[in-house]
């Protein structure tokens, strides 16, 4: 009898233990393996880096004490359905306090439904599709700027080039993010004198673009704008070369800012335009990392590869939680949610201040690959560096 009582007490103590352990836990389901692992790693590494940095600076001030942050990351294997189940698990079984996001819009679109259902705030830096923020959800916040504006700065820059391109081809993959980009871009193009000569959707994961490129070539398109994924863009550029397609410029939503994309293409990456909402500049001050340049250096040293805007956005997500918890002085989900909505601070990623729909507004800087380096060519204040334009034909490089 006595033994049974003791056993019951012991079990009770064990059950209660988790209530006292794990101070403030952030949970996320990220693509650590599978087809999106290449970008997923930015989130895994940047979340961990930010948590470590904040803890070594003393942690989070809440209720008069300094609490440490902890991080629980699950691998969704690049599978949307699995990632939804994992967010349910994080909320219902692991009982994490707050949620960080996965990479990619279609994931964030599905996963944010879980944060909304359980009223647990999610700050995600991996999904930019306007669809995520057009459903009136109260608990999802995003630190990537709206997909529909991705090409805004590029289109501004294009019109100031000499000789100005006259016709444009708009190509986009058929997923949530890229469809949003295309819808926005179409509206932006309608306001210009540029003629849209090709407007085509292609299937995600397509590896053959030869028909599409042949159409573009036959219509003598001056500028090509592509919203897609890195693998598709790699194939697109390689096949443009082999089919001798020579527009005056081409620009891509993703790929150009990341180092391994440039390495995979080698010299063929030259002249490609792209965009990024973040560059590791000294001007971006941060409470934990000093500034963005210092962050980039430390990140490279610790993980062995260059951070890009995905990593910076992920760090901003963790910092946003810390600032909001400190402002709310509570771990209550609803209070922290309101504090997030009121946030306004400077981070290494830029100014963090969410619009009423939960999304952030950051201007995209137009970048170009010049002699193997990523060069910022056009920003909010006009041209920064001289763009190499028009691109020389493939035969004359």
């Amino acid at each position: 009898m006595k033994r049974t009582t003791l056993l019951c007490l012991a079990i009770g103590a064990l059950m209660a233990a988790p209530l006292y352990a794990a101070p403030i836990e952030l949970g996320a389901s990220v693509q650590l393996t599978g087809s999106l692992a290449n970008t997923g790693r930015y989130y895994r590494d940047a979340y961990q880096f930010a948590v470590d940095k904040i803890n070594s600076a003393g942690g989070v001030k809440v209720g008069g004490a300094h609490e440490k942050l902890s991080l629980k990351i699950l691998d969704n294997q690049s599978d949307v359905n699995l990632s939804v189940r994992q967010y349910v698990q994080l909320v219902t079984q692991d009982k994490v306090n707050f949620l960080l996001g996965p990479f990619a819009s279609d994931f964030a679109l599905a996963d944010s439904a879980i944060s909304e259902k359980y009223n647990i705030p999610m700050i995600q830096g991996g999904g930019a599709s306007d669809q995520i923020f057009s459903r009136g959800y109260k608990y999802v916040f995003g630190t990537l700027s709206a997909a529909s504006d991705y090409f805004q700065s590029t289109i501004d820059a294009i019109q100031k080039l000499n000789p100005a391109p006259r016709s444009v081809a708009l190509l986009y993959a058929d997923d949530a993010f890229d469809v949003s980009v295309a819808d926005g871009t179409r509206k932006l193009l309608a306001k210009t004198s540029l003629k849209v000569a090709v407007d085509q959707r292609y299937s995600s994961k397509a590896s053959d673009f030869s028909s599409l490129l042949s159409v573009i070539k036959s219509r003598n398109v001056d500028a090509i704008l592509v919203a897609g994924h890195e693998t598709e863009i790699l194939n697109f550029i390689r096949q443009a070369k082999s089919l001798d397609v020579n527009p005056m410029l081409y620009s891509f939503t993703v790929g150009v800012p990341s180092a391994d994309f440039r390495a995979a293409l080698g010299r063929d990456a030259e002249y490609a335009f792209g965009m990024t909402a973040w560059l590791p500049s000294k001007a971006l001050k941060d409470d934990y990392f000093g500034d963005a340049e210092q962050f980039a250096g430390e990140y490279q040293k610790r993980f062995g590869y260059e951070p890009d805007y995905h990593a910076a956005s992920a760090v901003a997500d963790v910092e946003a939680f810390v600032k909001a918890i400190e402002a709310a002085n509570s771990l209550d989900a609803a209070k922290v949610r309101d504090a997030i909505a009121r946030l306004d601070f400077d981070s290494l990623y830029g100014r963090i201040h969410f619009n009423s729909n939960g999304q952030i507004g950051l201007a995209q800087t137009v970048v170009q690959i010049q002699k193997g380096k990523l060069v910022a060519v056009y920003g909010q204040k006009g041209f920064i560096e001289k763009p190499l334009y028009p691109m020389p034909a493939w035969g004359r490089r």
Partner: protein, 287 residues
């Protein structure tokens, strides 16, 4: 008209590569009655072998291709000899499961070994091209097409003209009779699987030259190979070639006239149609 001609050229060149991808799958399926779901993963491994010979030792990818074939042959032989032979008599569902498992294992090992970084095999002539009656023909694609054609014909000759080829066909047609004539099925199965894997190795090398490589390209390539093998028919390598060309042209024309977002709908739609109308493939003998 000019555009149609260009798109047809693109389709034919793509189809040749498709056919080579499907060739190994069809061979293994036809002879061993194993639908090898790890076929795409083997293609991926072949691509990495070629990639490392190219970047590490400066080998030309077309010189590295036979080495990739040899490496994959050995891997395929060992896989069949020591793993798949254990379940060869099991129902097809079991072999499907085990090859699916293999696919997952190979893919994840590849991510650990090679990382998820994107790679390309990018020799200096990768973007070269020449005009043909007004169409632009990429040099690497026509080379890849030539290799695919040569390997298809070589496999056909091997099956029809050589002793070992006769033994392979005999085993596929009637196992008992083949054994009575002295064929050792376990060795023969391993040899056939090795050949199929070697063809995957060749396809992977060419794929890396015209496209990009990462550990996850396999599953999509398996699906495509599967469709081509069904559309063409399993009996004869030349049928697979026809299946590949048919699909390549169909996809190219779909992208031109209906829209590139529908290429998969069309190719797998054709697969369903073929299964309903001619289950033995476009050219296969009807039962």
């Amino acid at each position: 008209m000019q555009l149609l001609w260009q798109v047809l050229v693109n389709g034919v060149l793509l189809g040749g590569l498709y056919a080579l991808m499907a060739l190994g799958l069809a061979l293994i399926w036809g002879v061993l009655n194993i639908v090898n779901l790890a076929h795409g993963a083997l293609i991926m491994l072949g691509a990495y072998v070629c990639y490392y010979l190219f970047t590490g030792f400066g080998w030309d990818p077309f010189a590295a291709l036979p080495v990739a074939m040899l490496v994959l042959f050995c891997l395929g032989y060992l896989l069949q000899r020591y793993l798949l032979n254990l379940v060869i008599r099991a129902p097809m569902f079991n072999t499907l499961l085990i090859t699916f498992g293999l696919e997952v294992v190979i893919t994840y090992l590849a991510q650990i070994a090679f990382s998820a970084d994107f790679r390309t095999i990018n020799p200096s002539y990768a973007g070269a091209n020449f005009p043909l009656f007004g169409a632009t023909v990429p040099v690497v694609r026509i080379l890849a097409f030539g290799v695919a054609l040569a390997l298809t014909v070589a496999l056909w000759l091997l099956l029809v003209r050589t002793r070992i080829g006769r033994a392979i066909r005999a085993t596929a047609q009637n196992l008992v009779a083949a054994r009575l004539y002295g064929v050792d099925p376990r060795r023969l199965y391993a040899l056939t699987f090795g050949l199929g894997a070697a063809l995957a190795g060749a396809a992977g090398s060419l794929y890396g030259v015209v496209s990009q490589i990462n550990p996850y390209i396999g599953a999509g390539l398996t699906a495509k190979s599967f469709a081509i093998a069904i559309i063409g028919g399993l009996e004869n390598p030349l049928y697979v070639l026809v299946g590949g060309l048919f699909l390549g042209i169909a996809e190219a024309l779909t992208a031109l006239y209906i829209g590139p977002t529908y290429t998969d709908v069309v190719s797998f739609g054709i697969l369903v149609l073929v299964l309903i109308v001619r289950p033995t493939g476009l050219l296969g003998r009807t039962a």
